[in-house]
Symmetry: C2
């Protein structure tokens, strides 16, 4: 066993802890650029609440709200302009995964020259970024627990992560009460994404003992909370569990990376703008079916944490969960066409080479095409 | 459930990873003050090896080797003088817990004015310190995984921790092969200390889900490795397990703090200079016996991880391990006298108030005296 472990997260977790935001962020400066989306943080009043909590501590803030699902490079550059015009000291992302990832990219490009995709592809490197504070409002991406920020280049369709400890949030405020306003369909999708993060981190060739602990605990917590919340039975304790599972999933992939389901999903949602969770729902079972033989003990462990017995019923456990979440769907119903498969398979090797390499089975281009066809 | 979690460790772990030290520490500067002890790192050749690895990468180093077990404030000040005279850029601690803690204190006082104990007691606060790099050569203290540094003030006999993220090592290089030179008696003591760290963190009122994961995993790893190494049966895999358990123990107490066994041990080894592990061996069982009723589920979990069934056989599990390690001893045989008890009990409240407050049972002064008498 040998590994390196460096994930400098700083988490504040608990129902109602958003109320501490004003007192906690002063250490990062006096002026916050709040990055958020068009809709839900305004409708729920959260955006006004956060601005008010900052103002109460003498902090100024300005809102940049032009981030859309699957954020793009131009949206990031617009955000950087807002950051510089306002002369902000730090970036505060309030929202779901797209928002948090955009906030990280804006904080990064605020300190760096050149093109964002140069850094995404590693052609340029920098450890500089404005401090990032994150307030997740969905429990899915786990972006609050790692140094990943997924961004899409509309010129190429490439959807890929900027990565590094420089964009790990200097503080993440994870308040399970903020998750409760998610629409039910979104809950199913982001909750399944949490499970995928934990499963893929545990299966990754880059897994280490710390990521294993986080991932297995996360899988158990998803089992104890997701269906119960989706069917309306769960309460505050289940929101806590799923929120914590989400952060654990983010931390586990921050350490161990992802495997084939995410590697194959990014090209699909980069191309057709389907939601990430629905893409994963379509792709995960076909990938697992073709991967079990290469890591039976790991799949058996996952299966047991989900309520099964061994690697043989791991697929059934996942399928039952998907059915319970009304996510037993294919890519075809999400707008992906058979003629997209060749491009997606080639793009997967371009944008997700690490995810493909980390999978228990190292799939060939033809095998990946076959998985996409099965998932249609 | 609500908590905050901020433990910015950066770990490099694995057999032989010490060979990477030269390449890894350049980011902290060109001149390293190496803090080490009088004996073992010289005898084993490790000190020369480390200096050579640094020199091979163009780094200068100078050795400060005046740290003794249970390091004192004057030793820290001497180290600070060496740091300043050499104009070092960072501090590299190579050794056991005393060495690592001294290295942290030297790095801290190199940047701060006034008396070290002012910071230990919180009368003064600073977040400044020279970067610290740690190379543990014993698997016990776990200092490589947290922001604690225990120091003794010889004027008062107080043995207490400096604490803060500013003294979390910027890099810890944990090479299980370096542990294999420990004398067998030292192995027993530091290995039992690992178990205490994990048990106490898990029992602490300040425990959070992350520290629970670390602590329970650590307990299992101790069970799988310590006796086997002590009896000469274990090999490289067991050294890996115990080394990782040690770091996990350090991380878990870095998050959750300690409870009564450590709280009561510090006054004993502060006063009589017995070794920390032998003090813990004498005190842990009397403390557990009086604490189980307040946290039966937690003690049952510990017992199961040690091979027992429930809270009722937790004491037996610990006693059997102590006997196997030839550590079924009392404080009396370590030089502690009945007339020391009153001072130790009062000192425990002075130096270890948090540890006493975090214990499942909040012991009174009289109860603590009674525990010391039982442990004689």
């Amino acid at each position: 066993m040998s590994f390196s472990f460096n994930l400098p997260v700083n988490l504040l977790f608990g129902a109602g802890c958003i109320n501490e935001i004003g007192k906690r962020v002063g250490t990062f400066g006096k002026k916050a650029l709040i990055v958020t989306g068009w809709g839900s943080t305004k409708k729920t009043g959260l955006l006004d609440r956060v601005s008010g909590l900052l103002a109460a501590e003498g902090l100024e803030s300005q809102v940049y709200d032009q981030v859309k699902p699957n954020p793009t490079v131009p949206q990031v550059y617009e955000g950087v302009k807002a950051l510089k015009d306002f002369e902000a000291d730090f970036v505060l992302g309030v929202g779901g995964g797209s928002i948090m990832d955009a906030a990280k990219c804006i904080a990064f490009m605020g300190k760096n020259d050149g093109g964002l995709m140069d850094y995404v592809y590693g052609r340029k490197v920098s450890s500089e970024a404005f401090p990032v504070v994150l307030v997740p409002t969905t429990c899915g991406t786990g972006s609050e627990g790692n140094g990943f920020a997924v961004v899409t280049d509309p010129e190429t369709g490439d959807k890929k992560s900027l990565r590094g400890t420089m964009i790990v949030a200097k503080l993440s405020i994870i308040d399970p009460e903020l998750m409760t306003t998610m629409p039910r369909g979104v809950l199913a999708e982001v909750g399944f994404d949490v499970l995928c993060h934990c499963m893929e981190a545990f299966l990754s060739a880059a897994a280490i003992p710390v990521s294993d602990m986080y991932a297995l605990t996360g899988i158990e917590l998803v089992r104890e909370s997701l269906l119960s919340l989706y069917t309306g039975k769960g309460g505050p304790a289940e929101w806590e569990k799923l929120s914590w599972a989400s952060t654990l999933g983010g931390m586990s992939i921050g350490i161990a990376g992802l495997t084939a389901p995410h590697a194959l999903e990014h090209p699909a949602s980069g191309l057709r703008n389907l939601t990430h969770g629905r893409g994963l729902a379509a792709l995960t079972v076909p990938v697992i079916e073709r991967s079990i033989a290469a890591a039976p003990a790991r799949f058996a462990e996952i299966s047991r944490r989900l309520g099964g017995w061994n690697e043989k019923d791991c697929v059934v456990q996942v399928q039952e969960l998907l059915a319970g979440l009304d996510l037993d769907i294919g890519l075809g119903s999400q707008g992906v066409k058979a003629e997209d498969v060749d491009w997606m398979a080639e793009n997967a090797f371009k944008v997700s080479a690490a995810g493909i390499a980390n999978n228990p089975v190292k799939f060939s281009l033809e095998e990946i095409k076959s998985i996409y066809h099965s998932a249609l």
